[in-house]
Subunit: 348 residues, 2 copies
């Protein structure tokens, strides 16, 4: 004998219950729920009161069966980093909740042969049609996926797009500017000899971070060449890069590792070479990922609003009504430096 025993349906109010209670037609309830125009204030109030009274929640299955929307947005990823993916996911999830949407998740191995990728894409598009997709790196820059979506008129937003940036909606941060911030931070602490652990050659963000760092340094008047070593955005790569950097004749006093994983590896190399971080060398990472606080000393790093990027991308997919923004708008989100323990003043 529960509160809802007056309802035919097993405990769940339906739109019909709401309509009856409010004394209006089914369609009017539907209009209120979908925020359609041309609904009088009075009617809206009545319906909303009835909805609240009955604790009514529209049935997604029925809505998508009857209407043209599916109330699902898909998150496509192919990222080995669980931290990154989880954060994006949390953001997308939050956006979905706000709009009564569901989130679907699909992993795609973008390194597989084109034919296989095609099949996988077709399966995703067919099995559960979504109202839109959020693309995360490296899928963000996969032309095959982009072309397929554009050809089929599928709605999507890109997280951290690199190539062809204004091809579609996307969310980015200003990597070059962030790297410049690191450069100036080092400089202000008195550092004058610099090193950088670069990322994968074909990775757009990695490229922009390097450029930004180098250019800021040049603007600061640094003439001594910056030592470079490739870390491939990986822990192991960071170790190897560290070995090179640390044994250089004129050793840098400050090294910018372009992501946290390689920064962690770099620090290991320092330890092994008997160099104390940050006393002898300052190390700055990028991402503020989980690993930044799983190393010692805790990593000074650039915070990237990854969850916010997921959120923003999802909103771009969701906000269909908003025709004011062009379909290819790029949104730039703020970053900031997280000062922890791996960076300090230059040694005397």
């Amino acid at each position: 004998m529960n509160t809802y025993s007056h309802l035919k349906n097993g405990g769940h109010a339906t739109m019909e219950d709401v309509a009856r209670k409010a004394g209006v037609s089914l369609k009017s309830v539907s209009r209120v729920i979908n925020r359609e125009p041309h609904v009088s204030e009075k009617l809206r109030a009545k319906v909303e009161a009835a909805i609240a009274a009955l604790d009514y929640v529209p049935d997604t299955a029925a809505r998508s069966l009857a209407g043209s929307r599916t109330f699902i947005i898909g998150l496509l990823f192919d990222n080995p980093s669980p931290n990154y993916t989880m954060k994006i996911q949390a953001g997308v999830y939050r956006a979905c909740m706000e709009q009564q949407y569901h989130m679907r998740i699909d992993q795609i191995d973008s390194s597989c042969p084109p034919a296989e990728l095609d099949a996988k894409l077709a399966a995703i598009l067919r099995n559960s049609r979504c109202d839109g997709f959020v693309l995360t790196p490296p899928l963000t820059d996969n032309l095959q996926i982009l072309d397929t979506f554009d050809r089929l008129g599928v709605r999507y937003a890109r997280v951290a797009p690199d190539i062809d940036r204004d091809r579609a909606r996307g969310v980015i941060i200003d990597d070059a500017e962030a790297a410049g911030l690191v450069a100036r931070h080092f400089w202000n602490l008195g550092h004058r000899r610099f090193g950088i652990v670069t990322g994968p050659a074909d990775h757009g963000a990695a490229h922009r971070r390097r450029e930004g760092f180098l250019q800021a340094l040049a603007e600061l008047g640094v003439t001594e060449p910056v030592l470079e070593a490739s870390g491939g955005f990986a822990f192991q790569g960071g170790i190897q890069a560290g070995v090179q950097l640390v044994s250089a004749p004129r050793r840098p006093t400050a090294i910018f590792a372009t992501n946290d994983d390689s920064a962690a590896g770099l620090m290991v190399s320092c330890w092994r070479a008997g160099i104390t971080v940050p006393r002898d060398i300052s190390v700055c990472g990028f991402d503020d990922s989980w690993v930044a606080q799983s190393v010692w000393p805790y990593l000074t790093t650039v915070y990237q609003p990854i969850e916010e990027m997921g959120y923003a991308a999802a909103r771009m997919v969701l906000d269909r009504g908003d025709t004011s923004a062009p379909a290819s708008a790029l949104q730039t989100l703020p970053f900031h430096l997280v000062e922890r323990d791996s960076v300090t003043v230059a040694p005397a």
Copy 2:
């Protein structure tokens, strides 16, 4: 002018198309799809041929609207560790794909006040009714959730349950046995003085790992007391535990950190104290998480089949038909030792 232009629906075959093509009734197609009994081989073959020919995929929304199933299973988590959660999620996802199910994800903050938790649960149960849930730690052992689900007759499976283990379906590993394996591994390498970094006091698995380690050591004939320090399953805690362990008068030569994060912290303490891992001290972790390969030396650790646990739990929720197994069956999955670089023979 695409391949499917003969279909009324926009490119997607419906059950009606299949029925017409196979020359059978709608209901017969439905029977084949749902693997209902009393379907002749001949009819099944015809229908399956038509399904294949039309590339037909049943519409989930329609199925759940018409039938009693929703084709959604929910994954409830409240775990700060993205690694763990991602792995569980991958397993659940795989199980869902196999059965044409969707996966829903909901984060619940189990530390919030009971009233709030109740509200959150009600919202989840109401907003998108699921056919069942997978509960991950620490939700697994949350009595309020368990009670609510049992009272409402909601189907669920528990990942790594601790208390009240045979209250419902669940997937576990034998933590005590795994810890024993570590103990014997140390022993076989000649270690005779041991330490352990324990986990949170109220954490069942942490407790069992400690017990298993201690008991195996006792069985091996170790009489010297095992040094203990609490690491709370965290990096920072591992550092602190390491400080204690490392400065002990009769320093252990082998330390079992009951999870990888605390093992990473422990190793940091070793470095800082001028102790080389594994030359001076062998360190073994537990979980084989991401961090195990983000430290140097790479961590020897116990692999826990986390993704498999998610998969198995999801299967328990999905396999409704299988009445052969009791509703409270526990499934125990295998683990194994991953030998990397942080454990070696005892120093002379």
